[in-house]
């Protein structure tokens, strides 16, 4: 009887732990997606223009 109760407690604890792990995994997947969505956006032309101008300035300046 006591043994049974104990097993049940362990089961509850481990299923709670599984549940928490699953939630964390789900959040982790979403977090990466949130970040990767921006990574996968096309880079605005402005970035390359700015870098090209800076490169030109440093070549002409030296």
């Amino acid at each position: 009887m006591i043994e049974q109760q104990r097993t049940k407690d362990y089961d509850t604890i481990s299923s709670l732990a599984d549940d928490a792990r699953m939630r964390q995994q789900a959040i982790g997947v979403r977090l990466r997606q949130l970040f990767d969505d921006v990574v996968n956006e096309p880079v605005p032309e402005e970035f390359l223009d700015i870098l090209r101008d800076a490169d030109k300035r440093s070549t002409e300046g030296s």
């Binding site: 789900a26 977090l31 949130l34 880079v43 490169d55 070549t59």
Partner: protein, 201 residues
């Protein structure tokens, strides 16, 4: 050592080309990191552009072959904090604007779960948010994240685990309400989405 010999100059030019190629490849990652720091797409791109230019100007001090991604992230982060200090009066307004923007991005095509996560993320203290993003999404090891944030490895570890717990509590416990829906639904949506994603694979 201001004078450069012709040979040195040729070497530098070749180095510049390689450096530029690597820097261009990192722009998408800089934009993503900036977006999570500012929470606002426009100021994020301003920040990412500033960081890119700073990195370009500092290319002489970069050691080829070392972790360039971590180096540029550190530059971006420093830029972010120095902008913040300079415009401390602006911070509160920015925060409010960022929250409005985050709420306003109610793209029907974007899954509910992502919007909710974005909101929950914006509620975390900055130091926890940046640690979690670097380790949980940016692909950095704890040691690298510690170098970027200029703090101890143990500090990063505890910030990441506090951030994870806080996120879950926000998404689980309805720390906020939106459209009359409690945030408990947000966790349910995230779980359902994750299940769909993993079964689709």
């Amino acid at each position: 050592m201001l004078a450069t010999s012709p040979a040195k100059h040729i070497h530098d030019t070749l180095g510049d080309e390689e450096f530029k190629r690597e820097l261009v490849a990192l722009i998408p990652h800089l934009r993503a990191f900036a977006r999570t720091l500012t929470g606002n797409p426009t100021s994020a791109d301003d920040l990412a552009q500033d960081a890119m230019l700073k990195a370009w100007d500092a290319r002489g001090s970069y050691q080829m072959g070392t972790h360039m991604k971590a180096w540029t992230f550190m530059i971006l982060r420093n830029q972010f904090y120095s902008d913040r200090r300079r415009s401390w009066r602006q911070v509160q307004l920015d925060q409010e604007a960022a929250e409005r923007t985050l709420v306003a991005i109610d793209d029907p095509a974007s899954p509910l779960a992502l919007d909710e996560l974005r909101l929950a993320l914006a509620m975390l203290p900055l130091e926890q948010r940046e640690a979690l993003i670097l380790v949980g999404a940016g692909g950095f090891a704890y040691e690298e994240a510690a170098a970027i944030c200029e703090c101890a490895v143990g500090t990063v570890k505890s910030r990441v685990s506090r951030a994870r717990r806080a996120l879950q509590a926000i998404l689980d416990g309805g720390a906020y309400e939106r459209d009359g829906k409690s945030a408990g639904d947000a966790m349910a949506a995230i779980l359902a989405d994750a299940e769909r994603l993993s079964s689709a694979r």
